[in-house]
């Protein structure tokens, strides 16, 4: 017999999911922008193709990134993904070689043992049975870890697992049933027929000893088929949609497609590619320090999938980038949050998991009646300053931390730089805080105002001491000057020999600010500057793993107490080695850390300030002397 009614659920499920996946791929492809379509076509038939195949292998199947972060978790994912893949692949080959004919329908491969109970007695067939059993055992080992992890997450070293909704739970249950029911079904069949390899065979003969194996096998085959069918049918509306989505995503990404500013196919593909693995949960400092457990990226993406109102969730995020750098699928979480912030709240009638596909989500819901009205038309154009080489933009936050700006002035003077302190009398904000709040249109007005001042100055370089300003200058302004962070500028001054520093016999720990480090990738220059002035203490909390200070302008909702909690925990982590100084290169980080530093240890200062400390006194004295000579006042150095 080559057919049995029990295969029907499986068939329904399988054909459904295949048609669904193909349809989705076509729809997503059609909704790509023209440029992206071309990119994908080039990527598919070009070099990125091999890269994509390789990535599918190393990430979707082997889960190498998860392995690096957490070996037990990586093993678990790998066993299910890679194991199941091998089971299907080798099962198909098995049916092909050992079946009655070639090119069998899929159910023949999946239910091979049912249709060939005596298979595997000797020779190559025996070896093959062994391999199939081995793979099944491999999968079951991972499954056990998965089941235990759901109840006791610490066994895989995670503090939290994702919370699931009803549909997810049913899908999870059916997934968990698949392999045990295969095991039992095969075992009973083998028990009855006296065949099978080390797993199925031994289990089978054990059962056959006291149970009616033949009769018991059949219900389990039904169970196997039903669980498979149910899983496939539920797949599109659960997190397991990540299996097909991730394949599409990998091809898109390797072809050079990026998320951009609007919600589109690529964003949609990313949203569906989230497997809710939960790695982002532990990385999020809001969970660890502030006790906020419903806004993490896994939940945000899940909310997007289900058309929930995720506006508040999107606002309550530090935008620090820790989740994005650790996401094994490579979802651009920051960009997705920004898109949601721009979109505003979801209207009531859109909030359902069954309605609203991408096109509806894509609608601009911000019916702005005053769209043409300028909000910042009270700003006067700045006076034109010419003949400067370097413009120094301190930024709003630096005004509240004058140690940084006065240090920068000293450095400029000591190095003989022809500079102009652009916002000495108070600054117009650079515009990034408005953008982080989703108000791009208003931000454009500020950007225009500041750009005019910069363009008309004739300067060659723009130096800023605030990474937030730096990021918007680099990414959203269209400037014809070179934009530098003050650490980069100081590094250049040192390399050009315009600044001589002596080595201070002190230990420091350097904190990578979120916007400078993960946001712009500037890690090298601050460290180069610090190598000239002090000794480094090693810390594991640096570069991509640097904690966020908590002062973030990206989080609008977080209240003062929780910010303090985040800052305290971050400071405790950084200052574990008891350094003399904690060096920051962001005024907001400096203020936030200073608020929670107890008894001034370690002392928290900006990189410009420690450079001034390392300047020989003669340089500082000369600067003040020059300034005061104009007044004819005798002056002595106080510090």
């Amino acid at each position: 017999m080559q057919f049995n009614p029990f295969v029907i659920p499986f068939n329904i499920g399988l054909y459904f999911i295949i048609i669904y996946c193909v349809a989705i791929c076509i729809i997503w492809f059609m909704d790509l922008s023209r440029a992206d379509k071309l990119r994908l076509q080039r990527g598919f038939f070009g070099k990125p193709f091999t890269r994509s195949i390789k990535e599918i292998f190393t990430e979707s199947l082997i889960h190498r990134k998860i392995f690096r972060l957490n070996p037990v978790l990586g093993y678990m994912h790998m066993s299910l993904a890679f194991g199941w893949f091998l089971l299907i692949l080798l099962g198909t080959i098995e049916a092909d070689i050992f079946g009655e004919k070639h090119l069998n329908p899929p159910y023949k491969a999946i239910f091979f043992r049912f249709f060939n109970p005596d298979h595997g007695a000797e020779g190559f067939a025996r070896v093959y049975s062994f391999i199939m059993d081995f793979i099944l055992a491999f999968i079951l080992s991972g499954l056990m870890i998965a089941i235990i992890k759901r109840f006791w997450s610490r066994i895989v070293g995670m503090k939290k697992t994702t919370n699931l909704k009803t549909l997810d739970r049913i899908a999870l249950l059916s997934l968990w049933l698949i392999f045990p029911s295969r095991l039992l079904a095969e075992s009973f069949t083998c028990g009855a027929a006296g065949s099978g390899s080390f797993l199925t065979g031994s289990l089978g003969s054990f059962f056959a000893g006291f149970l009616p194996a033949e009769a018991m096998a059949y219900p389990f085959w039904w169970l196997y088929s039903l669980s498979l069918g149910l899983f496939f049918i539920l797949l599109p509306r659960t997190r397991y949609m990540h299996i097909p989505s991730e394949l599409f995503l990998i091809f898109l990404r390797n072809s050079g497609v990026r998320t951009g500013d609007q919600y589109g196919s690529y964003a949609e593909a990313q949203v569906y590619s989230c497997s809710s693995c939960g790695i982002c949960l532990d990385k999020c400092q809001l969970s660890r320090s502030a006790g906020i457990n419903d806004i993490q990226s896994a939940y945000f993406v899940k909310g997007l999938k289900r058309n929930d109102d995720v506006y508040d969730i999107s606002l309550n995020c530090l935008m620090c980038g820790r989740c994005e750098t650790s996401c094994p699928v490579g979802i651009e979480l920051g960009a997705l949050r920004m898109i949601q912030r721009r979109a505003g709240e979801t209207p009531e009638d859109m909030k359902s998991i069954w309605t609203g596909y991408m096109r509806e989500r894509n609608q601009d819901r911000n019916i702005d009646k005053e769209a043409n009205k300028k909000v910042f038309n009270y700003l006067q154009p700045e006076p034109v300053v010419s003949e400067t080489e370097v413009l120094y933009f301190a930024g709003c936050m630096t005004h509240l931390s004058p140690g940084i700006s006065t240090s920068m002035i000293k450095i400029f003077e000591a190095a003989g730089v022809n500079y102009h302190f652009m916002d000495q009398n108070g600054s117009v904000c650079c515009g990034r805080p408005l953008m982080l709040a989703g108000k791009d249109r208003e931000a454009r007005e500020l950007i225009q105002h500041n750009s005019m001042a910069i363009w008309s100055s004739g300067a060659k370089k723009l130096v800023t001491s605030c990474p937030i300003c730096l990021k918007v200058f680099t990414e959203s302004y269209h400037l014809d000057v070179e934009v530098l962070h003050h650490t980069e500028f100081i590094c250049r001054l040192i390399e050009e020999g315009r600044l001589t520093l002596k080595f201070l016999n002190r230990t420091v720990v350097y904190h990578d600010p979120c916007e400078l480090g993960r946001g712009l990738g500037i890690y090298y220059d601050p460290r180069m500057v610090l190598y000239h002035v002090a000794r480094f203490n090693d810390t594991e909390f640096e570069r991509d793993n640097a904690p966020c200070c908590g002062g973030s302008l990206g989080n609008i909702r977080l209240d003062s107490r929780k910010k303090t909690a985040v800052a305290s925990d971050a400071l405790n982590d950084l200052a574990r080695s008891n350094p003399d100084f904690l060096i920051t290169s962001c005024p907001l980080c400096k203020k936030t850390f200073r608020k929670v530093a107890q008894n001034g240890s370690p002392e928290i200062i900006d990189i410009a300030e420690i450079v001034v400390k390392a300047m020989p006194p003669s340089q500082k004295e000369e600067f003040r002397h020059n300034k005061n000579c104009q007044r004819g006042v005798k002056y002595t150095v106080v510090k």
């Binding site: 709003c396 936050m397 904000c429 408005l434 003062s560 107490r561």
Partner: protein, 114 residues
């Protein structure tokens, strides 16, 4: 709903009973620290927009609490959301969120007549 045509005559007195404080309550629900303000003025003193315009967060807070919504509507959009006010508030009010919610609240009032 702008005063039913009485907007040309501004009352010289804050008529506390007649004034509509639902916006203030809306904000208070979403940002409880709003109730802590003592009107010290540090926020307004450090405000980036105050250099150029009449924006004063302290005034905004007081007017909201008294129900003088027209004044608020006039000045609230001048804010650059730079965040300096939150960094100087001695009471720990999340001022940036207060003004963000205020803008949201008035937008809702205008768009959906809530």
């Amino acid at each position: 709903m702008k005063g039913f045509g009485f907007s040309s005559i501004k009352p010289r007195v804050i008529d506390y009973d007649r004034n509509n404080r639902t916006v203030s309550e809306y904000i208070l629900e979403r940002e409880p620290s709003f109730s802590l303000c003592i009107a010290c003025g540090a926020c307004a003193a450090t405000c980036s927009a105050a250099n150029f315009t009449e924006m004063s967060l302290r005034k905004l807070n007081i007017f909201l609490k008294r129900g003088e919504n027209d004044e608020v509507r006039r000045i609230m959009n001048r804010c650059m959301l730079c965040g300096k006010c939150t960094l100087v508030c001695p009471r720990g009010v999340n001022t940036r969120n207060v003004i963000f919610i205020t803008q949201q609240a008035f937008k809702k009032l205008d768009n959906y007549a809530v």
